[in-house]
């Protein structure tokens, strides 16, 4: 069940935290920003579409990096703060609280995308021209939503055990690799493709590239195919996360681990 009011309240709460001390966004966006900038340096001699590829992929990685740090930290922060129980005793579903925060944090990941665009435009002289502006915006929003939902899945695990932070760190970089955001998926070994295909970011990045880079369609799906798969994987993860929250909250309440940080 999604409680829109709780989502809105936690979105607002997370934004207040950001504006009170904006420097705290740095740990979440620095990794993808640096990764993308390094990628730009490595691609610089190739020029043209390859650089644009890197810029778009970097934007997706930026959103992902911020989402995973903050979705896991969201519950971790509540544990540390002692507010996890205070939230769980309210009628608001915890999943909605986490979703609101993930949405804000993915949105904040757009800052990373913006930073990457600025570096690309001014430091590397890349002409970031979007072929299909509306398609680009829709794809960006869909990717943002999909990453937020993925963040919820991770957030759910953090309810039951604080050791989940280790899982998140384990999963952050694999998604950088498996999403094929800054290089074609075909460059990855065959055995890794199924993992790539279940990640919404894979399809979101593809839709972004199709709407930006003329003639790009590496998987032969077209824009609507890629967008559709983004939506499909997002819905699947949303359902998984809602179930996970119910199940894992129950586990936490049996084990009595809500207060431990």
């Amino acid at each position: 069940m999604i409680d829109l009011r709780a989502m809105k309240a936690s979105f607002k709460q997370q934004s207040i935290h950001f504006f009170v001390d904006p420097q705290w966004v740095i740990p979440s966006i620095i990794a993808p920003f640096i990764f993308t900038t390094v990628t730009l340096f490595l691609f610089r001699h190739a020029g043209g579409d390859l650089l644009l590829y890197a810029v778009l992929g970097g934007g997706v990685l930026g959103m992902w990096g911020n989402t995973i740090h903050s979705s896991s930290w969201s519950i971790g922060y509540d544990r540390m703060n002692g507010t996890l129980e205070a939230i769980m005793v309210t009628p608001a579903p915890l999943s909605s609280v986490v979703f609101g925060r993930c949405l804000w944090n993915s949105f904040l990941g757009l800052l990373n995308a913006l930073a990457v665009f600025i570096v690309a435009e001014f430091a590397f002289g890349i002409d970031v021209t979007v072929q299909d502006p509306l398609g680009f915006v829709v794809a960006m929003m869909a990717t943002l939503l999909s990453l937020s939902v993925l963040g919820m899945v991770f957030g759910a695990f953090y309810v039951v055990t604080r050791a989940s932070s280790a899982f998140f760190q384990i999963l952050e970089f694999p998604i950088y690799v498996l999403s094929g955001a800054v290089f074609p998926l075909m460059n990855l070994p065959d055995w890794s493709r199924p993992f790539s295909y279940v990640i919404p970011a894979t399809w979101g990045a593809e839709a972004l590239k199709i709407s930006t880079v003329a003639g790009h369609d590496s998987m032969g799906l077209g824009y609507y195919g890629a967008l559709g798969l983004t939506g499909l994987t997002t819905v699947a993860f949303l359902l998984i996360s809602l179930w996970l929250f119910t199940y894992l909250e129950g586990r936490a309440k049996v084990n009595g681990t809500l207060v431990r940080y």
Binding site: A46, A163, F173
Partner: protein, 264 residues
């Protein structure tokens, strides 16, 4: 002096116990190793796709293997100040006779062990999976270079960590430094690729010298040939430790004046 060593040991022990109180050794190991592996793999894939002869996949893999030291030696040490404030133990520690410098030295000692382990395994990954050829490397020289790099980087981490006694920002600085090395230290591409005005910044980071020294050893250089780089790293490291000692004292006094020990 003896009491200070006791403080160093106690701090290192606490660091180790806290680490394994949250995640067990197996999960922690998986976390450390998968981070190193996937980061390396990411840049290898990018380099392979880019096809730049100046930054081949093996070049990138070796650089990333050495940079695995940063996570423990710099980030791990830097984060300690923020962590102590988080938990609320900073003020308690300050009230003891043990100076903050020695507390962090203990954490640095613990993180050094972790760092050396991680970099050894990362070099193994680089050699096994990503085409790095270490068959001609002088192992004594390699060990010396890695130890010197670790020494200098822990000193660097302590300088940054000292800020955390006074300000909230050490965790942020730690995050920046953690990843900036990938861009500035010749890890993924030669420093000459950077704009001329940015290149001097590379030499502030001990990692720059460490990466170069490891590349030289992998190419067949012996201890004598890397001695100048070793000397630089040891000197820089010593300077960082001295700076850290002074800074910890300074920031301790400032924090006590401002009352920022509990503010996180």
């Amino acid at each position: 002096m003896l009491e200070d060593i006791t403080g160093v040991k106690a701090s290192a022990l606490v660091a180790m116990r806290s680490q394994f109180a949250v995640v067990g050794p197996v999960l922690w190991l998986v976390q450390i190793l998968s981070t190193a592996l996937f980061q390396m793999w990411f840049f290898v894939l990018v380099s392979d796709f880019a096809g730049d002869p100046g930054a081949t996949p093996a070049y990138v893999a070796l650089g990333n293997a050495v940079s695995a030291l940063t996570y423990s030696a710099v980030y791990g040490v830097t984060m300690s100040a923020g962590a102590e404030k988080h938990i609320g133990t900073m003020a308690t520690i300050m009230g003891t006779p043990t100076r903050m410098f020695y507390v962090f030295l203990g954490k640095g000692a613990y993180q050094s062990i972790i760092g050396m382990f991680t970099v050894t395994v990362s070099l193994g990954f680089a050699s096994l999976f990503f085409g790095v050829d270490l068959s001609g490397a002088n192992l004594v020289a390699l060990a010396a270079v890695l130890l010197a790099t670790c020494f200098a980087m822990v000193g660097f981490g302590m300088v940054i960590g000292s800020v955390g006694v006074y300000l909230r920002s050490s965790m942020i600085l730690g995050s920046i430094v953690l990843y900036l090395g990938l861009l500035l230290c010749g890890v993924n591409f030669p420093i000459s690729y950077l704009p001329w005005w940015l290149q001097p910044a590379s030499y502030v980071f001990p990692l720059t010298f460490g990466v170069q020294a490891v590349r030289d050893v992998a190419a067949g250089a012996g201890l004598a040939e890397v001695a100048p780089l070793l000397a630089i790293m040891l000197s820089i490291g010593a300077a960082f430790f001295l700076m850290a000692y002074a800074l910890f004292n300074y920031f301790e006094r400032l924090a006590l004046k401002r009352g920022s020990l509990d503010m996180f």
